[in-house]
Structure formats: C-alpha cells, structure tokens
Assembly symmetry: C2
Homo-oligomer: 233 residues x 2
Amino acid sequence: MLDMIAFDADDTLWHNESRYLEAKDRFKQLLSTYHSPGWGENRLDETEIQNIRSYGYGIKSFTLSMIETAIELTDGQITARDIEEILGLGKRMLEAEVQLFEHVEETLAKLARDYPLMLITKGDLFEQQRKIERSGLAQYFRHIEVVGEKTGASYRVLLEKHHVEPHRFLMVGNSMRSDILPVLEIGGRAVYIPYQHTWLHEQVSTDETQQHEYVELEDLGQLPELVARLGKQ
Amino acid sequence: MLDMIAFDADDTLWHNESRYLEAKDRFKQLLSTYHSPGWGENRLDETEIQNIRSYGYGIKSFTLSMIETAIELTDGQITARDIEEILGLGKRMLEAEVQLFEHVEETLAKLARDYPLMLITKGDLFEQQRKIERSGLAQYFRHIEVVGEKTGASYRVLLEKHHVEPHRFLMVGNSMRSDILPVLEIGGRAVYIPYQHTWLHEQVSTDETQQHEYVELEDLGQLPELVARLGKQ
C-alpha cells in the first residue's frame, strides 16, 4: 500500500535536457569560428559540473558556465557580441514553453484521485516554480518541494516532514542517481522511466544499479496499472 | 500573544547589500577604462530590476545582469578578459563569509527558548541555503522558508501552512516593501529594523508607510524587550 507518490519534474514530466542539448549545439556553432569543431567538446560539461558547488543547478548557472567556458576555450578572444549571444541563449531557455511528455496529464489526473501526489525537483527554485506554473500541472500536486540535492538524507527529511513511512512511498523519475538509488537506500520504492538523454552528471555505473530493486517503465502511461498492483500487495 | 516570530535574513541578520555595493564599485572601476566615470551610473540597477522577471533574485542573476550591462554600456567593446573579471566578482560574492550583525545570535538564542522562530527569505534557494548553513544560525529556526516574492498572498500561504493566525504572527525585517507592508496587509504584526543601504527595488514612498502601524527598532538587540511587552498584551 502507498501513502504518497512523488514525481521528479525535469525529463520525467516535461522535456528539459533536450533544451540544454539544443543550447549546447548553438554554443558549439558560436565557438566554431574561433577554432576547429570538436575541439574542447567536453569542456562545458566539465565546467558546469565543477561550478555546481558555487552556482547550484539551473539555467542561470548553465549560462554563467557557458560564458566562462567560451572565454577559456577562445583564450580570451571571444567578442562581447558573441557573449551577448550566449546570454540570449540562456534567456530563451528561461522563456521557453514547457513541453509535457505523452500521458503525463492523464496519468497525474488519474492517480491524484486516489493518492496524494508530491513533486520533488532539485535545482533553481525560481526556475522550477515558473515551469510548474506554466506546465498547468500544479493542481494535481498536494505538495511541491524544491531541494538542493536529492540524497537519501534529503528524501528522509521530506518523508518525515510529510509523515510518510519510506516503504509506503513511491518515487517516479528518470535519474538513477537522483530519483531511484537514494530512495531505495532509505527503504522507499522507485519507478525508473529512462529518458533518451541523461546528463553526464546524472549518470551512474551499471554496478551501482544492479544491487538494487526498482521497476523500470517505458512511459508514464504505464504507471497507474503498476500502482494498482502495488496497492493490492 | 505571539505564536510565531519570523525573520528576514539578508540585511536583517547579516550583511548583504554592502556586498552588492562593493561589487558595483568594482564593476564601475572596470568599466571606467571604456568611458568617463559616472556615465551610465544607474544602468546596472535598471537592468537588474528588468531581469528579475527572467532571472529572479540572487548573485547569479546579478552577475548575468552585470555582464549584460557591461556589453551594452561599452557598445560591445568590453574584452572577454574583463567579462572574466565580472564572473570572478560574482564567484567571490558567492564564496564570501556570512557576516552577522551585532546582537543577532544572542537575540535569536533568547527568543528561541520561548517562541518557534521561522526564517523567511526570498531569492535563490541554493544561495540562501548556503548562507544559512554558514551563518551557524540554522539551529535557532524551527522552520526555514525560501519564497519567490514576499507578498501578502505568499505570507498568507506560509501562515496557513504552519497554522498560525495573522494577529499572532510577528515579522522582523529591514525591507518595508517585503517584510513590513505585506505582513500588515494580512493583519500580522511587524518590526522594522532599517538598514543603512536599501536597494532601489526595495524602496517605497513615505506615503505608503504612513498609513500603517509597525514598530521601528534600531537593532535586533532591542527585540526581546519588545516581544516581552507584546506577550503581555
């Protein structure tokens, strides 16, 4: 039996990583006039991951990391106008429409009738709140929580706050590292719905996943049936 | 009688605006090689306020606004190395020590014995959480809430969430616009502790403040005595 079902947002309910990949493509094009393409391919990812400590997650952090990387890769030769282009890339990402995955709205509507639903996202509070508002999905969630990092400890704090026992809690998400492993670690249940793109920072080794039990689904439309089965156990 | 005392953080418990002013000074110095000093003096403030809609509050937003303003004011002539300096200004602000005001720790320790204390800040969740951790004050607060904007509506949501009646709620802060007026608007009580610097965006006209009743104190050390008096009413 379940007392609460929680969902990750980015790349679980709506497209996110593809937005970053588009921006990274534009970023590479922009820098291609300064050097041959392919050069410094992974530098941006490295800078981003290094900057999480100072900046945290989100589009503003990403924009600052793009600027830092561009200056570094061009050895200070990039023009202010090209940096202005990078600022524009970030602003367009912030203003972009929220594009829901298939089956999301119908699945949430169905589950919200029987279970309290919670949205648990990490990242920039301001950016996430705007996406939640624009998604039109806020009505289905009894609780919305934006956390700094998704670790066993941060899930434990959330469950205590909402008085839910771990074994009666189900987390649904696309990130093995943030949505699945830490929830299993504290004795919760997890449904993994992989997304076609996974950011380097969210990737984990197969070794880490093999020791744990979780259910993998192809899309969110399959969730109500699984929940119905779990509910009968 | 009071059921909850809440505090703003930036410029109420610790120095914040002075950090921004220092960075703005460095920013002006940096641009002074491109044009005469004083030119475009308020442009950064204008860009910042305009960008709140896209970026929200915080140091990352401020850094992006500095870069945008620098490109604009130098008509695209600023070098990538100078933009790198601006990135550095932002990073140093993010890494800076939290500098508490006088009487803060003793006042919170005293009040926390008799009342549940709440911290209510707006701005960037990641940045605020880091400051709270570094401040060493987290132990005194039963609840910590980071909100997008401090409006009557957002205070009402918080009070409902924590089951506190507005007239039994006291808010303490340095911003008339964010800490005092919206709390009075929903029937709460407020203590205003002005700070020497107030950012343009937080300023309100004297007309707006004259219609309302709040208590003004010089520093946080005077708060326990006021609370003792309110407690007896």
